[in-house]
Symmetry: none
DNA sequence: TCGACGATGACATTTCGATGACACAGAGGA
DNA sequence: TCCTCTGTGTCATCGAAATGTCATCGTCGA
């Protein structure tokens, strides 16, 4: 799950980003609409956190124009307490949410996770494949009923694969969705993370390398 | 599937080419319209990625003139973000697509694959001949229902033959579509790949050599 | 029968994924 | 403040799979 944070107050931006990262989300952050626009063209996000007023304009206006182009990523607006009228404005699009400053970072995190989940409409909260269960709500993974302790990155990658069972998923796609913009697409981070996942799952054949095309979940390997 | 990338910024060209190659496409790349023109006369491509502005002119103008000659290969234009008018211009031809810089390579790859697919309009996603099935989407091949594991090259060659059942396909045509420009047309790579294919298909007569004219799929051979 | 062309097996090279070791940053405790 | 532990990323290396080259053999047809 990858999130973009658009907030001009640097302290707040850092605090929010840190909070979201601790919930195992990949976070990019920028300070104005122009930078946000560029980031949104370059990458794909599962959710965007937008401060309402930014140095180069009102984010609602920007979002409204993107929506007209069919852009559907859920947005959480951060609005100032006094401008009550904002709340109405910010809620035009059904998929969005808002939060009034000041707010607890934990609250924000909860809402963002909820928005991310809602975006993948109808996706069951618990993913299952072979004897692996991924509880996306609790962020827990079990294999043959045994709870595993995965790191944030490991969880993120496994979740992405579990949503696409038996399909080859490219390294590029994984980098795009599980890492933030700082990730080097040429490095072998993905390989290494896959290896660590395989080790923890104690069933290396479950995640199969498809030469030249990435990785995929499979039950065909090894025993089969 | 073979793609030509025309982009003057070398870094971008390399990044784009690498991305497309990782999607199992054969990629040639050049830096200006003159070179593109030559490449397009010499080879045939399933899709072309054109930067909008090139050192020796506007690629739209060039494409427009080629179109008037009946040239129909789909083109994906890369346009600069600020020139909004470009978007309209670039879209005159129904089969084309455009992408605004900056963009994610993954996004570009997805669109190119889509264009390639669209180009073979109405071609069924699963090709069948005799008891062989080629699932072009999943990149899977079955013979008599049994899944075979082919390499990228083998798949590519088989796919090309399957689209032209019972027609003799020359080595030159195969080299052209399944290999990139670096391939040596005098070598016997094709012969060797055909042999490996025959072995994996466990039915050598299925791919028949037509002396002096190449290879063709046939059910007439051997067992009858 | 000869010669061109295709078939074949062996081998060389290249590409790609696997792996272990290490580097580094941040959190949290002493 | 310093230390330690954990998560994460980088790197060099290894080895297997994929791909390409080559020499040689067989066979078809003029």
């Amino acid at each position: 799950m990858r999130v973009l944070v658009v907030e001009d107050d640097e302290d707040l931006r850092i605090a929010v980003s840190a909070g979201l990262r601790s919930a195992a989300l990949a976070v990019d952050s920028v300070g104005d609409i122009a930078a946000a626009d560029e980031a949104l063209w370059v990458n794909s996000y599962d959710c965007v956190v937008f401060d309402r007023m930014l140095p180069d304009g009102d984010s609602i206006v920007y979002i409204r124009s993107r929506r007209q182009e069919g852009w559907a990523v859920p947005v959480l607006f951060l609005t100032a307490r006094d401008s009550l009228a904002d709340r109405v404005d910010g809620f035009e699009h059904g998929g969005d949410d808002y939060l009034v400053k000041p707010f607890a970072v934990a609250e924000l995190t909860a809402r963002v996770l909820s928005l991310c989940r809602r975006a993948g409409t109808g996706r069951p909260p618990v993913l299952r494949y072979a004897d692996v269960e991924v509880d996306t709500g609790r962020r827990e993974v079990r294999r043959a009923g045994v709870l595993l302790t995965l790191t944030a990155k490991e969880f993120s990658v496994l979740e992405y694969l579990m949503v696409r069972p038996e399909q080859a998923v490219s390294r590029a796609a994984l980098i795009e969705h599980c890492w933030d913009a700082a990730a080097d697409p040429m490095s072998n981070v993905v390989d290494v993370t896959i290896r660590r996942l395989r080790n923890k799952l104690r069933q290396p054949e479950l995640i199969e390398a498809v030469r030249g095309r990435g990785y995929r979940l499979t039950t065909a390997g090894g025993a089969g």
